[in-house]
C-alpha cells in the first residue's frame, strides 16, 4: 500500500539510484571522509578519529609530494606533446595512403589493444640493460660499447617510461586526428591551393584549424589518462630508482597500501583530482573555442 504512493518514475529509477549509491556515492563519500582521519589499514579504529585538515597540510608541505606532482605534470606535458606531434604525422601519412588505408588504420590501433601492464613488461624487457633489445641493437650497430642503464639511471628511467607511454597511446591521437582529416571537406584545401598557398601554408591556415577540435578532444581524453598513469610505471620501475620516477598515483598507491596510510593517501588523491579537473577545464575551453572557430555544427 505504501509503495503505491510513490510515483512510477521514482519507483522505476529507484534500483538504479540504489546501485549508483552503493558503488559510487558511498565509496566516494567514505574516501573523502577518511581523508580527514589518520586512517591506517592496520588500525581500523583510526577511521573514527577526526583530525580535520591535518592530512592535507602534511601532504601540501611534503617535498616528496610536490616533486611527484611536478614530475607528473612534466611527464604529462612531454608525453602529450610527443603523442600529439607523432599522431598528427601518422594521421597525415595514413590519410595520404592510396591503397591499404583500412589495413593501416587497423595496424595503427594495435598498441591500444595491449593492456598497459603488458606494455610495461614489454618495454621493461626492451630497455633491460643486460638482455634488452635496445642495448643489444645499439651495441650490434656499434653505436656504443656500454650497457646503457635505461631503467636504472634516474633521468633515463623517466625517459624510458615516456617512450613506452608514447608508444602505447600515440594511436589515440592518430585515430582522432585521422577522423578529422577524413571528415574535413576537400574544397577549402583546393581553394587554398588556388589562392596561392604552398602545401605548408595550406596546412597551417586551412587544415590545422579544422583538425584542432579533434586534437583537443584527444588532449582532453589523454590528459586524464596520463595524469593517472600508474600501471606502466609500477611495472617498469615501481617509482625507482630512488623515487626518481615516482608519479602522483604511484605515490598515492604506495602511501595507501605499502605504508597503509589510507587517510593520507586519500588526501593526496583528492588533491590530485584537482589537477585533472584543471586540465579538463582548460582543454574543454580550447575545444569550445576551436569548434566555434571552424563553425562546427556538432
Amino acid at each position: 500500500m505504501k509503495l503505491s504512493r510513490l510515483s512510477a518514475p521514482v519507483l522505476l529509477l529507484f534500483p538504479a539510484f540504489l546501485v549508483l549509491a552503493a558503488v559510487v556515492v558511498v565509496p566516494l563519500a567514505l574516501s573523502f571522509y577518511s581523508s580527514f582521519t589518520p586512517f591506517r589499514l592496520t588500525k581500523p579504529e583510526s577511521l573514527y578519529v577526526f583530525i580535520g585538515l591535518r592530512n592535507y597540510i602534511t601532504v601540501l608541505s611534503s617535498w616528496d609530494f610536490w616533486v611527484a606532482f611536478g614530475r607528473t605534470v612534466l611527464f604529462l606535458t612531454i608525453a602529450l606533446n610527443a603523442e600529439m606531434l607523432l599522431g598528427l604525422g601518422l594521421a597525415l601519412l595514413v590519410s595520404k595512403a592510396v591503397r591499404g588505408q583500412r589495413l593501416l588504420r587497423t595496424l595503427m590501433m594495435f598498441p591500444m589493444m595491449f593492456s598497459p601492464v603488458l606494455v610495461g613488461f614489454q618495454f621493461k624487457f626492451l630497455f633491460n640493460d643486460n638482455i634488452g633489445l635496445i642495448n643489444n641493437g645499439l651495441q650490434s650497430l656499434g653505436l656504443t660499447d656500454q650497457a646503457i642503464p635505461w631503467l636504472i639511471d634516474g633521468n633515463l628511467a623517466l625517459f624510458s617510461i615516456t617512450v613506452a607511454e608514447v608508444w602505447s597511446s600515440t594511436s589515440v591521437f592518430a585515430i582522432l586526428i585521422l577522423a578529422g582529416l577524413l571528415a574535413m571537406p576537400r574544397d577549402p584545401i583546393e581553394a587554398a591551393h588556388v589562392d596561392g598557398c604552398t602545401p605548408l601554408q595550406t596546412f597551417r591556415f586551412v587544415t590545422w584549424p579544422y583538425l584542432m577540435p579533434f586534437a583537443f578532444i584527444a588532449m582532453t581524453i589523454r590528459s586524464l589518462d596520463v595524469a593517472r598513469a600508474y600501471d606502466i610505471v609500477k611495472i617498469m620501475t615501481d617509482g625507482g630508482p630512488a623515487k626518481r620516477t615516482e608519479l602522483l598515483w604511484t605515490l598515492v598507491g604506495r602511501t595507501a597500501y605499502s605504508d597503509a596510510r589510507m587517510g593520507m593517501a586519500n588526501a593526496m588523491a583528492y588533491f590530485a583530482i584537482v589537477l585533472s579537473i584543471l586540465f579538463t577545464v582548460y582543454f574543454f575551453r580550447k575545444l569550445a573555442a576551436a569548434r566555434q572557430q571552424i563553425g562546427a555544427e556538432w
Binding site: E190, A191, H193, G196
Partner: protein, 365 residues
Amino acid sequence: MAPVSLKKLVKRYGALEVVHGIDLEVKDREFIALVGPSGCGKSTTLRMIAGLEDVSGGTIEIGDNVVNDLPPRARNISMVFQSYALYPHMTVGENMGFSLKIAGRPVEEIKEKVADAAAILDLSHLLERRPSQLSGGQRQRVAMGRAIVRRPDVFLFDEPLSNLDAKLRTQVRTEIKKLHARMQATMIYVTHDQVEAMTLSDRIVIMRDGHIEQIGTPEEVFNRPLTKFVAGFIGSPPMNMDDVTVDDGKLVFATGATLPIPPKFRQSLTTGQKVTFGLRPDDFFPTGHGLNSGDAEAVAQLELPVSITEPLGNETLVFVGFNGRDWVSRMLNPRPLPSGQNIKMSFDLSQAHLFDLTTGNSLVA
C-alpha cells in the same frame, strides 16, 4: 586577362580515359560555358585548367605559357566552387583577403582591395561575419569576392549556382554577368544547366562523354545544332524527335503518320533513307498560337488529341499525342484546352531539323 588554349587535352584515371583529347581556344576576355550531362568531363577539364588535376596528355596554355606542370598557385587563376569552399574559421573579410595575405601584400592594400570587392558585391556590411552566419547566396557572393580580389587572369566557375534555390540562382546569375562586364576577364564556367550556359556565355562548349560535341554562340547551338545530342540538350522543353523513313516526298513515322519533307531538305533526301526528325516546341503549336513563320508553304497541319497542358501564364505547354507518344508544343496567347479534345496543330517545317540516324550528325540543307 589572358586567353586559354587547350590542345589535345586528355585525362586518364588509370586505364579509364575520361577526357579524350579536346581542343579549345578561349579568347581573351571571353565568357565560355562548358555544359553537358554529369560525367561528360566538363568539371575534370576545368579542374585541369585550375591545376587541381594532373594532365594526362596534351597541353594547357594560359596566356603564352604552358601551365601543365605549374601548381595552381603559379597559374594566376581564381576558382569559385559549387560548395563555396569558404574558410569557416575566417571572417568574410579575411576570406576575401586571404590570397593577398599569402602573397605578402601590405595590410593597407589588402583592406582597400577587399573593401572594393565588397562594395561591388554588396558585402560591405558583412565583412566581420563568419561564413556560418551567412545565407547560401551571401556565401556564394563571398566566394566570388575572394576570386575577384586577386584580379586573376582567368576566372573558373565550377557549377557555382547549383546549391542555390531557384530565385537566388537567377539573382546571382545576373551578378556573374555584371561581374564579367565589369572585370573584363576571361571566364570559364562549368554547368549542367543549359539555361545558365545560354544566358551567361559568349560561346558555349557542349561536352558529352569526354568529347566536345559543338562550340558556338548561344544562337548557333540553339538554331543550328550540329548533332542530335546538342539538339536534345539545348532548349527547354527539349526538341521533339522521332525516327522517320523518307518515302516519295513524305516523312513516314513508325506509326504510319506522315509529314511532307521540309522544303529545304527536298533536294537532299532519297526514298528509303532513314533519318531523325526534330522540331522544337516553339515551331510546333496549336494553329493560330505560334510564332508566325511567314512561310505558309512550309507549315503542315494535323488534327491531334490534347494529352495534358501545363499553363505558365504567358504561355502554355501543350502535350499532344503524335506518333504514339506526347509531343510538346509551346502555345502563345493561351486559351484553356480540355484534355482529350482534338485540336489543329501546326508543324513549322521551315524550322525542322534532320539528323543522320547512325552518326547523329545534322543533315545540312
